[in-house]
Subunit: 291 residues, 4 copies
């Protein structure tokens, strides 16, 4: 699996009463992302409220996503679990239903040592044969994995073949490139860092932005690939206000609100997360109207 | 309920294979804490690996703790849940089994706004009649509650009657005291801050230290209460190396290792957490030998 | 020299046009501090705008302060210089005019290594025979000295006999106490930390607060010394709003404004520093009226 | 003045005894930078130890630099002063000797409010007619100017026409671009951010790297300008180990050591700064040998 381009993150739609995932709307959401030229679909990421679902709900969403995508592009299933055992359980399920890869972020309560993080990934890898994307996002998970640790895991655990870096620090990507001699493909997970990351050699951009921006993220990726830097910079700056807004407000809230504004009702985020308030919806409407 | 003194935190012992809580050893652990003069018992806190247990396990530990303590002192049950719904479920259970209070920390994946945190506590309070202790510990939970928010919740949500502050910043306690005109009882949750907090008027000290230090934490509390400051300072400095060590290493790991050193085997922390390594055990042995 | 109690910091009054220090008012300011029971006078500290004066002005203020105090209490002269050479020049002058000690803070442009900081103090110490107080205040100087470095300098450089800690982190004081086995006298330099620091064994409190609070800081010191903790806590909380305000607004600005409110005009801080604005003066008036 | 490309920073060579600037070597150093294709010369920046010189020395270096460059490219003189008065004195001198622009960084002891920073620049601008480059580098100066403040000063103070951003945060540059609608030229002042900054539309790169890397920084700039992104990325990654090293070690120390390794002895940095130690020189030698 040689993944490049846009890895798109669907939200997890809920029924109106919030009691369960709405699988039909999930399918619609995925079709929307595919129509925008997404090169892979990554359900159950941060945007997909993975951590807020029961195991049964998580299974439903994972399974339905794989079925809907139906091998048109790779499906990468997100796993964010506190205990090794729960993570393994989900990894096995992902493999069982035919996912193409898993993306794993080790959330924490007590801080983890590097040795504990290493063992966490190794224990998961031992139970499956799927490729694993390391997902580093300390702002949500409370775990910060250094470039040194990430590259060590890439060297020592064969199934680890990719890393999604979401710290928003371009120096992390430079360091991963240097430490792995360019061999470990890295993907940008911080929307406002997209231009810098792609210019620095990122293999792709993991993003929920296509939910609202359609083909524009893919266009930015392509402009950088073809060396059309002036157009890429211009495209990036036109997207940046929206990218900054959806990140600052929290992706489940802002993406769900944005979809509702465009006429696609997908419910609200799980409590204690709340829906966008009126001021946020007004800003979002104004930002969306510019496209 | 007017709580003062030492609120003691038991670990959650596991069976040798780690598959389940060892309730018999839990009882022994609680007896040990009571013998050290603890003024309340708080199972399922950070030390108790609350976040790493299945709901069924959590229920077992909560229920058994209440039975063992048997009203000798108040029991405060810890709740750390990502979703409001799961937190409510646990709060109801705590009330059902006869706990005296709950201690609630709103763990996060997506950052919560103040309004979301307020609603989280309010939604829980609406379902029970127990007193609630706010627990602020951003290092583990990813949620930082300002003194302003904490005091507002104390003013507006009747069941909130106490706050455990674990940021380790004495200015937070000063601020809580000032904002609430001394009316909101605050408890120190950062072991190395014990002396400063008690001198600043903390009602008590929430700590796992009595597991290893026996009566010494209670002694420090009493020395401050009786204005014996020189002896209190001396007592504090003698405990500080151990207090700093158990915090730096993570309480489940270090307390379990320390108990094992004293001959009480309580199993290991849940993976990905690991047991103390040889160097850590050696340091701990040396520190314990000073008492 | 065994210094305890309140080390008081005068402002540097300027003439109305701001062109030069007003030595007569400096004398009045020092008398005010002595009347408040100060145990030492420390001109040319952060409060005294040491870093904003020409060398000639600095010399005038130093010399006049020593003359005015006239051995009634020790005088500790503040030195904050970027280059070793300039610091030595001032240290020699302080000794020449009969100061009792110097307080040295190594300000930075380029970050200094521990070895560079050590050599800075050592080079100064080699040129004089006065006792030296290390002054750690990274917020103003850009240099943060660890407890380990501070205690090492205390052990290796005989003239270093005291440390003023202004980070506002009580753990730093605990660490200095532990690393020096209680032998290195430490002084609190962060006003809102006064209670915690004195309870933790600080030898004194370095503060500009007596300029506005008169005998109250000394009273707090004495209450802690005599083990009257409840009264000390109460005294501290009554002073805290003003202490927090003068620190947050910057000491030269707020102390000068406060003195003006009480009828003692001492000019404005040196540009780019500005005088307190109307809102700040209103708050300050309200805070001062409570005493 | 429409400045683009490489703004090169000479070190300030000292005589062997460190007592004074070595003007002959300064001239040699400037010639070296011009030979590397520098588009402007910026003496007395952070690299030039501006803050460590007496006023007389600063004047010598400024004047000699202007004479040596002799209008071949623009000369931008660096000013980093604590007081407004001293900054004005230097700004006037720079204009008097025929400099083309000044670069101003407001160093701090007491933190400055936005209003104080604004007045600082305004007061300087009122005394001269040269263009002013705002220099933001909180790590050295202790003053952090937000993009909002920077763009406001650009709008309101006519002489401010450029900004050098050295925080190393690409989002700052994005923000400056957005807030000024692309009208305020920004220059990268953080060497490891060079690629990201140039791709984001930076007008140039302010750097001491040409002292050691010769034409390579200019080559990187040109590759980005011509849209040759793959070659630019490759050029950047080959320079990055050295760029990271000289920044981490402090530019005066590492650039002076690097020049010595290449056979050009320029003395040591001013105390308390020290020369590179043996290990640092060995690393530097290894890094330089790769070119």
């Amino acid at each position: 699996m040689k993944l490049t381009g846009i890895i798109a993150y669907p939200i997890t739609p809920f029924t109106a009463d919030g009691s369960q995932p709405d699988l039909e709307k999930l399918a619609q959401s995925i079709e929307l992302l595919l129509k925008s030229g997404s090169d892979a679909i990554a359900p159950l990421g941060s945007t997909g409220e993975s951590a807020y679902l029961s195991f049964a709900e998580w299974q439903q969403v994972a399974q339905h996503s794989v079925q809907v995508v139906a091998k048109r592009v790779p499906v990468i299933i997100g796993i964010s679990e506190l205990t090794t055992e729960q993570a393994i359980q989900k990894a096995r399920f992902a493999e069982h239903i035919g996912a193409d890869a898993i993306m794993v972020i080790p959330v924490s309560y007590w801080k983890l040592t590097d040795a504990e993080i290493f063992a966490y990934y190794q224990d998961i890898a031992a139970e499956i044969s799927l490729p694993i994307m390391i997902y580093n996002n300390p702002a949500t998970s409370g775990v910060d994995m250094s470039p040194e640790l990430i590259v060590k895991m890439f060297r020592d655990i064969p199934q680890i073949t990719m890393v999604k870096e979401s710290t928003g620090d371009i120096q992390r990507m430079h360091k991963i490139y240097q430490l792995s001699a360019g061999e470990l493909p890295f993907y940008n997970g911080s929307n406002p860092l997209a231009l810098a990351a792609l210019c620095a050699g990122a293999s792709g951009w993991c993003t929920a932005a296509p939910n609202l921006l359609g083909v524009l993220p893919k266009e930015l990726y392509s402009l950088v690939q073809t060396g059309n830097l002036k157009a890429a910079t211009s495209s990036f700056y036109s997207q940046l206000p929206l990218l900054s807004f959806i990140v600052a407000g929290g992706l489940p809230k802002t993406i769900k609100a944005g979809l509702a504004i465009t006429g696609f009702e997908v419910g609200q985020p799980r409590k204690p997360l709340t829906a966008a308030n009126e001021a946020e919806r007004a800003t979002l409407t104004r930002l969306l109207n510019q496209f």
